[in-house]
Symmetry: C2
Subunit: 187 residues, 2 copies
Amino acid sequence: MVFDLPAWCADIDVETARTDPTDQIRLAVELAERNVATGSGGPFGAAIFEIESGRLVSCGVNMVVPSKSPIAHAEIVAITRACEATETFDLGAPGVPAMALATSTEPCAMCFGAVPWSGVRRLITSARDAEAREIGFDEGPKMADWKQALERRGIEVITDVERQLGADVLREYAARGGLLYNGRGGH
Amino acid sequence: MVFDLPAWCADIDVETARTDPTDQIRLAVELAERNVATGSGGPFGAAIFEIESGRLVSCGVNMVVPSKSPIAHAEIVAITRACEATETFDLGAPGVPAMALATSTEPCAMCFGAVPWSGVRRLITSARDAEAREIGFDEGPKMADWKQALERRGIEVITDVERQLGADVLREYAARGGLLYNGRGGH
Protein backbone atom coordinates (compact mmCIF):
# COMPACT_ATOMS: atom_id res chain seq x y z
CA MET A 1 0.00 0.00 0.00
CA VAL A 2 1.42 3.32 -1.06
CA PHE A 3 0.20 6.84 -1.66
CA ASP A 4 1.16 8.15 -5.09
CA LEU A 5 2.41 11.74 -4.94
CA PRO A 6 1.03 14.51 -7.16
CA ALA A 7 2.81 14.71 -10.52
CA TRP A 8 4.58 18.00 -9.67
CA CYS A 9 6.58 16.19 -6.98
CA ALA A 10 8.74 14.80 -9.79
CA ASP A 11 10.39 18.27 -9.86
CA ILE A 12 11.66 18.00 -6.28
CA ASP A 13 15.44 17.92 -5.97
CA VAL A 14 16.03 14.50 -4.43
CA GLU A 15 19.79 14.45 -5.04
CA THR A 16 20.97 17.24 -2.74
CA ALA A 17 21.90 16.10 0.76
CA ARG A 18 20.27 18.16 3.51
CA THR A 19 21.81 17.61 6.92
CA ASP A 20 20.68 20.89 8.49
CA PRO A 21 17.20 20.76 10.10
CA THR A 22 16.49 24.21 8.63
CA ASP A 23 17.13 22.92 5.10
CA GLN A 24 14.99 19.87 5.85
CA ILE A 25 12.11 22.08 7.02
CA ARG A 26 12.46 24.31 3.96
CA LEU A 27 11.81 21.28 1.77
CA ALA A 28 8.78 20.26 3.87
CA VAL A 29 7.39 23.80 3.59
CA GLU A 30 8.10 23.92 -0.15
CA LEU A 31 6.04 20.74 -0.52
CA ALA A 32 3.18 22.33 1.45
CA GLU A 33 3.38 25.56 -0.59
CA ARG A 34 3.31 23.77 -3.92
CA ASN A 35 0.49 21.52 -2.75
CA VAL A 36 -1.57 24.66 -2.08
CA ALA A 37 -0.44 26.48 -5.22
CA THR A 38 -1.33 23.55 -7.48
CA GLY A 39 -4.52 22.64 -5.60
CA SER A 40 -3.34 19.08 -5.03
CA GLY A 41 -4.30 18.94 -1.33
CA GLY A 42 -4.16 20.54 2.10
CA PRO A 43 -1.47 22.97 3.31
CA PHE A 44 0.90 20.41 4.77
CA GLY A 45 4.17 18.88 3.58
CA ALA A 46 6.65 16.47 5.15
CA ALA A 47 9.89 14.73 4.30
CA ILE A 48 12.09 12.05 5.79
CA PHE A 49 15.89 12.24 5.77
CA GLU A 50 18.76 10.09 6.93
CA ILE A 51 20.10 12.10 9.84
CA GLU A 52 23.79 11.48 9.22
CA SER A 53 24.01 11.63 5.44
CA GLY A 54 21.16 14.09 4.89
CA ARG A 55 19.84 11.89 2.10
CA LEU A 56 16.18 12.50 1.24
CA VAL A 57 14.33 9.21 1.77
CA SER A 58 10.75 10.25 1.05
CA CYS A 59 8.36 13.15 0.57
CA GLY A 60 4.75 13.54 1.60
CA VAL A 61 1.97 16.03 1.01
CA ASN A 62 -1.54 16.15 2.36
CA MET A 63 -3.92 14.37 -0.02
CA VAL A 64 -7.04 13.86 2.11
CA VAL A 65 -9.46 15.43 -0.34
CA PRO A 66 -8.10 14.15 -3.70
CA SER A 67 -7.48 10.64 -2.36
CA LYS A 68 -10.74 10.59 -0.35
CA SER A 69 -8.79 9.23 2.61
CA PRO A 70 -8.80 10.90 6.05
CA ILE A 71 -5.43 9.39 6.91
CA ALA A 72 -3.61 10.84 3.85
CA HIS A 73 -1.77 13.45 5.92
CA ALA A 74 1.67 14.59 4.81
CA GLU A 75 3.44 12.75 7.65
CA ILE A 76 1.58 9.47 7.00
CA VAL A 77 2.36 9.71 3.28
CA ALA A 78 6.05 10.38 3.99
CA ILE A 79 6.25 7.55 6.56
CA THR A 80 4.57 4.97 4.33
CA ARG A 81 6.74 5.95 1.36
CA ALA A 82 9.92 5.82 3.45
CA CYS A 83 8.97 2.36 4.75
CA GLU A 84 8.29 1.16 1.24
CA ALA A 85 11.62 2.54 -0.02
CA THR A 86 13.46 0.99 2.94
CA GLU A 87 11.44 -2.26 2.90
CA THR A 88 10.76 -2.14 6.62
CA PHE A 89 7.88 -1.36 9.00
CA ASP A 90 10.39 0.23 11.40
CA LEU A 91 12.65 3.06 10.19
CA GLY A 92 14.49 2.68 13.50
CA ALA A 93 15.29 -1.02 13.09
CA PRO A 94 18.86 -2.20 13.66
CA GLY A 95 20.88 -1.70 10.48
CA VAL A 96 18.66 1.11 9.14
CA PRO A 97 20.28 4.60 9.14
CA ALA A 98 18.68 6.85 11.80
CA MET A 99 16.01 9.07 10.27
CA ALA A 100 14.38 12.46 10.86
CA LEU A 101 10.84 13.49 9.90
CA ALA A 102 10.49 17.17 9.01
CA THR A 103 6.94 18.50 8.81
CA SER A 104 5.57 21.90 7.86
CA THR A 105 3.18 21.97 10.87
CA GLU A 106 3.33 20.20 14.21
CA PRO A 107 1.64 16.79 13.86
CA CYS A 108 -2.08 16.35 14.53
CA ALA A 109 -3.20 13.77 17.11
CA MET A 110 -3.08 10.92 14.57
CA CYS A 111 0.33 11.77 13.11
CA PHE A 112 1.70 12.34 16.63
CA GLY A 113 0.66 8.76 17.42
CA ALA A 114 2.23 7.49 14.17
CA VAL A 115 5.67 8.94 14.98
CA PRO A 116 6.68 6.33 17.62
CA TRP A 117 5.47 3.44 15.43
CA SER A 118 7.41 4.77 12.43
CA GLY A 119 10.79 4.40 14.06
CA VAL A 120 12.06 7.90 13.21
CA ARG A 121 14.51 9.23 15.77
CA ARG A 122 13.97 12.94 15.27
CA LEU A 123 10.94 15.14 14.56
CA ILE A 124 11.40 18.67 13.22
CA THR A 125 8.42 21.04 12.89
CA SER A 126 7.72 24.49 11.46
CA ALA A 127 4.25 26.02 12.12
CA ARG A 128 2.51 25.33 15.38
CA ASP A 129 -0.53 23.15 15.93
CA ALA A 130 -2.35 26.29 17.15
CA GLU A 131 -1.78 27.94 13.78
CA ALA A 132 -3.53 25.05 11.99
CA ARG A 133 -6.41 25.28 14.47
CA GLU A 134 -6.62 29.05 13.87
CA ILE A 135 -7.53 28.53 10.22
CA GLY A 136 -10.17 25.95 11.21
CA PHE A 137 -8.56 22.50 11.24
CA ASP A 138 -9.46 20.24 14.15
CA GLU A 139 -6.04 18.82 14.88
CA GLY A 140 -7.62 16.41 17.36
CA PRO A 141 -7.14 15.73 21.06
CA LYS A 142 -3.42 16.07 21.88
CA MET A 143 -1.77 15.92 25.27
CA ALA A 144 -0.25 19.22 26.41
CA ASP A 145 3.18 17.61 26.87
CA TRP A 146 3.30 15.82 23.50
CA LYS A 147 6.93 16.83 22.89
CA GLN A 148 8.05 15.36 26.20
CA ALA A 149 6.02 12.20 25.51
CA LEU A 150 8.06 11.65 22.32
CA GLU A 151 11.32 12.56 24.02
CA ARG A 152 10.62 9.99 26.73
CA ARG A 153 10.62 7.43 23.91
CA GLY A 154 14.03 8.60 22.72
CA ILE A 155 12.70 10.72 19.85
CA GLU A 156 14.35 14.14 19.61
CA VAL A 157 11.90 16.99 18.92
CA ILE A 158 12.93 20.32 17.34
CA THR A 159 10.08 22.81 16.97
CA ASP A 160 9.49 26.30 15.50
CA VAL A 161 12.07 25.92 12.70
CA GLU A 162 11.24 28.61 10.10
CA ARG A 163 7.89 28.81 11.88
CA GLN A 164 6.76 31.83 9.90
CA LEU A 165 7.24 30.04 6.57
CA GLY A 166 5.05 27.12 7.67
CA ALA A 167 2.40 29.42 9.12
CA ASP A 168 2.33 31.49 5.91
CA VAL A 169 1.29 28.39 3.93
CA LEU A 170 -1.60 27.78 6.32
CA ARG A 171 -2.78 31.37 5.94
CA GLU A 172 -2.46 31.21 2.15
CA TYR A 173 -4.67 28.09 2.12
CA ALA A 174 -7.27 29.89 4.24
CA ALA A 175 -7.10 32.99 2.03
CA ARG A 176 -7.78 30.83 -1.02
CA GLY A 177 -10.83 29.31 0.69
CA GLY A 178 -9.21 25.85 0.92
CA LEU A 179 -11.51 23.06 2.10
CA LEU A 180 -11.47 22.22 5.82
CA TYR A 181 -11.79 18.44 5.69
CA ASN A 182 -12.60 17.91 9.37
CA GLY A 183 -14.52 14.74 10.28
CA ARG A 184 -18.32 14.72 10.75
CA GLY A 185 -18.62 17.71 8.42
CA GLY A 186 -16.84 19.77 11.06
CA HIS A 187 -19.43 19.06 13.78
CA MET B 1 -4.64 3.96 -1.77
CA VAL B 2 -6.08 0.85 -0.19
CA PHE B 3 -4.89 -2.02 1.97
CA ASP B 4 -5.73 -5.42 0.48
CA LEU B 5 -7.04 -7.83 3.10
CA PRO B 6 -5.61 -11.34 3.58
CA ALA B 7 -7.27 -13.92 1.30
CA TRP B 8 -9.12 -15.64 4.17
CA CYS B 9 -11.21 -12.47 4.69
CA ALA B 10 -13.23 -13.56 1.65
CA ASP B 11 -14.93 -16.06 4.04
CA ILE B 12 -16.33 -13.31 6.27
CA ASP B 13 -20.12 -13.09 6.29
CA VAL B 14 -20.72 -9.62 4.88
CA GLU B 15 -24.45 -10.09 4.28
CA THR B 16 -25.76 -10.40 7.85
CA ALA B 17 -26.82 -7.12 9.43
CA ARG B 18 -25.32 -6.55 12.89
CA THR B 19 -26.98 -3.74 14.82
CA ASP B 20 -25.96 -4.91 18.31
CA PRO B 21 -22.56 -3.61 19.47
CA THR B 22 -21.84 -7.05 20.93
CA ASP B 23 -22.32 -8.69 17.52
CA GLN B 24 -20.17 -5.98 15.94
CA ILE B 25 -17.38 -6.64 18.44
CA ARG B 26 -17.65 -10.39 17.91
CA LEU B 27 -16.86 -9.85 14.23
CA ALA B 28 -13.90 -7.58 15.08
CA VAL B 29 -12.55 -10.23 17.48
CA GLU B 30 -13.12 -13.01 14.92
CA LEU B 31 -11.00 -11.01 12.47
CA ALA B 32 -8.25 -10.67 15.10
CA GLU B 33 -8.41 -14.38 15.97
CA ARG B 34 -8.19 -15.53 12.39
CA ASN B 35 -5.38 -13.06 11.70
CA VAL B 36 -3.39 -14.74 14.48
CA ALA B 37 -4.42 -18.29 13.55
CA THR B 38 -3.41 -17.85 9.91
CA GLY B 39 -0.28 -15.81 10.70
CA SER B 40 -1.43 -12.94 8.51
CA GLY B 41 -0.62 -10.19 11.03
CA GLY B 42 -0.90 -8.85 14.56
CA PRO B 43 -3.67 -9.71 17.04
CA PHE B 44 -6.06 -6.92 16.13
CA GLY B 45 -9.26 -6.74 14.08
CA ALA B 46 -11.75 -3.99 13.35
CA ALA B 47 -14.93 -3.44 11.38
CA ILE B 48 -17.15 -0.51 10.42
CA PHE B 49 -20.94 -0.74 10.40
CA GLU B 50 -23.82 1.55 9.54
CA ILE B 51 -25.31 2.20 12.97
CA GLU B 52 -28.96 2.14 11.96
CA SER B 53 -29.04 -0.69 9.41
CA GLY B 54 -26.22 -2.76 10.91
CA ARG B 55 -24.74 -3.19 7.43
CA LEU B 56 -21.06 -4.16 7.41
CA VAL B 57 -19.18 -1.46 5.50
CA SER B 58 -15.59 -2.64 5.87
CA CYS B 59 -13.24 -4.99 7.71
CA GLY B 60 -9.67 -4.44 8.85
CA VAL B 61 -6.92 -6.56 10.33
CA ASN B 62 -3.47 -5.62 11.50
CA MET B 63 -0.97 -6.06 8.67
CA VAL B 64 2.08 -4.11 9.90
CA VAL B 65 4.58 -6.93 9.41
CA PRO B 66 3.36 -8.46 6.11
CA SER B 67 2.74 -5.06 4.49
CA LYS B 68 5.92 -3.54 5.99
CA SER B 69 3.88 -0.51 7.00
CA PRO B 70 3.74 0.79 10.60
CA ILE B 71 0.36 2.40 9.98
CA ALA B 72 -1.36 -0.83 8.83
CA HIS B 73 -3.32 -1.18 12.06
CA ALA B 74 -6.75 -2.83 11.96
CA GLU B 75 -8.59 0.45 12.55
CA ILE B 76 -6.65 2.31 9.83
CA VAL B 77 -7.28 -0.53 7.38
CA ALA B 78 -11.02 -0.55 8.21
CA ILE B 79 -11.26 3.27 7.95
CA THR B 80 -9.45 3.50 4.63
CA ARG B 81 -11.51 0.65 3.16
CA ALA B 82 -14.78 2.18 4.40
CA CYS B 83 -13.83 5.53 2.88
CA GLU B 84 -12.98 3.87 -0.41
CA ALA B 85 -16.29 1.96 -0.43
CA THR B 86 -18.21 5.12 0.46
CA GLU B 87 -16.13 7.40 -1.80
CA THR B 88 -15.62 10.00 0.90
CA PHE B 89 -12.85 11.21 3.22
CA ASP B 90 -15.47 11.77 5.95
CA LEU B 91 -17.72 8.89 7.03
CA GLY B 92 -19.70 11.49 8.99
CA ALA B 93 -20.41 13.77 6.04
CA PRO B 94 -23.98 14.95 5.46
CA GLY B 95 -25.89 12.29 3.53
CA VAL B 96 -23.66 9.41 4.67
CA PRO B 97 -25.32 6.94 7.11
CA ALA B 98 -23.88 7.29 10.64
CA MET B 99 -21.18 4.70 11.26
CA ALA B 100 -19.64 2.77 14.16
CA LEU B 101 -16.09 1.44 14.37
CA ALA B 102 -15.76 -1.78 16.40
CA THR B 103 -12.22 -2.79 17.34
CA SER B 104 -10.87 -5.83 19.17
CA THR B 105 -8.60 -3.69 21.41
CA GLU B 106 -8.86 -0.05 22.47
CA PRO B 107 -7.09 2.10 19.85
CA CYS B 108 -3.39 2.95 20.14
CA ALA B 109 -2.34 6.61 20.15
CA MET B 110 -2.30 6.78 16.33
CA CYS B 111 -5.68 5.09 15.79
CA PHE B 112 -7.19 7.19 18.59
CA GLY B 113 -6.13 10.27 16.63
CA ALA B 114 -7.54 8.81 13.40
CA VAL B 115 -11.04 8.33 14.85
CA PRO B 116 -12.12 12.01 14.79
CA TRP B 117 -10.77 12.49 11.24
CA SER B 118 -12.62 9.38 10.02
CA GLY B 119 -16.06 10.76 10.78
CA VAL B 120 -17.34 7.68 12.63
CA ARG B 121 -19.89 8.56 15.28
CA ARG B 122 -19.40 5.60 17.60
CA LEU B 123 -16.37 3.62 18.79
CA ILE B 124 -16.85 0.18 20.38
CA THR B 125 -13.91 -1.66 21.95
CA SER B 126 -13.19 -5.08 23.45
CA ALA B 127 -9.79 -5.63 25.14
CA ARG B 128 -8.16 -2.78 26.99
CA ASP B 129 -5.11 -0.83 25.93
CA ALA B 130 -3.39 -2.12 29.10
CA GLU B 131 -3.86 -5.71 27.90
CA ALA B 132 -1.99 -4.93 24.67
CA ARG B 133 0.78 -3.26 26.66
CA GLU B 134 0.96 -6.33 28.96
CA ILE B 135 2.03 -8.57 26.06
CA GLY B 136 4.66 -6.01 25.02
CA PHE B 137 3.11 -3.61 22.50
CA ASP B 138 3.93 0.07 22.96
CA GLU B 139 0.51 1.53 22.31
CA GLY B 140 2.03 5.01 22.38
CA PRO B 141 1.44 8.13 24.47
CA LYS B 142 -2.32 8.43 25.12
CA MET B 143 -4.11 10.94 27.32
CA ALA B 144 -5.72 9.41 30.41
CA ASP B 145 -9.14 10.79 29.45
CA TRP B 146 -9.11 9.65 25.82
CA LYS B 147 -12.72 8.45 25.97
CA GLN B 148 -13.96 11.82 27.18
CA ALA B 149 -11.85 13.56 24.52
CA LEU B 150 -13.74 11.64 21.82
CA GLU B 151 -17.09 12.18 23.52
CA ARG B 152 -16.44 15.92 23.62
CA ARG B 153 -16.29 15.69 19.82
CA GLY B 154 -19.68 13.97 19.70
CA ILE B 155 -18.28 10.44 19.26
CA GLU B 156 -19.98 7.86 21.48
CA VAL B 157 -17.53 5.42 23.12
CA ILE B 158 -18.57 1.95 24.37
CA THR B 159 -15.73 -0.01 26.00
CA ASP B 160 -15.15 -3.47 27.51
CA VAL B 161 -17.60 -5.27 25.16
CA GLU B 162 -16.72 -8.99 25.32
CA ARG B 163 -13.45 -7.82 26.82
CA GLN B 164 -12.30 -11.33 27.66
CA LEU B 165 -12.62 -12.47 24.03
CA GLY B 166 -10.44 -9.61 22.80
CA ALA B 167 -7.88 -10.14 25.55
CA ASP B 168 -7.70 -13.87 24.80
CA VAL B 169 -6.54 -13.11 21.24
CA LEU B 170 -3.74 -10.92 22.58
CA ARG B 171 -2.59 -13.69 24.93
CA GLU B 172 -2.77 -16.29 22.16
CA TYR B 173 -0.51 -14.10 19.99
CA ALA B 174 1.97 -13.79 22.85
CA ALA B 175 1.83 -17.56 23.53
CA ARG B 176 2.68 -18.22 19.88
CA GLY B 177 5.67 -15.87 20.10
CA GLY B 178 4.11 -13.32 17.73
CA LEU B 179 6.41 -10.49 16.64
CA LEU B 180 6.23 -7.24 18.63
CA TYR B 181 6.62 -4.69 15.85
CA ASN B 182 7.29 -1.67 18.07
CA GLY B 183 9.23 1.22 16.52
CA ARG B 184 13.00 1.65 16.96
CA GLY B 185 13.35 -2.11 17.49
CA GLY B 186 11.44 -1.67 20.75
CA HIS B 187 13.94 0.79 22.24
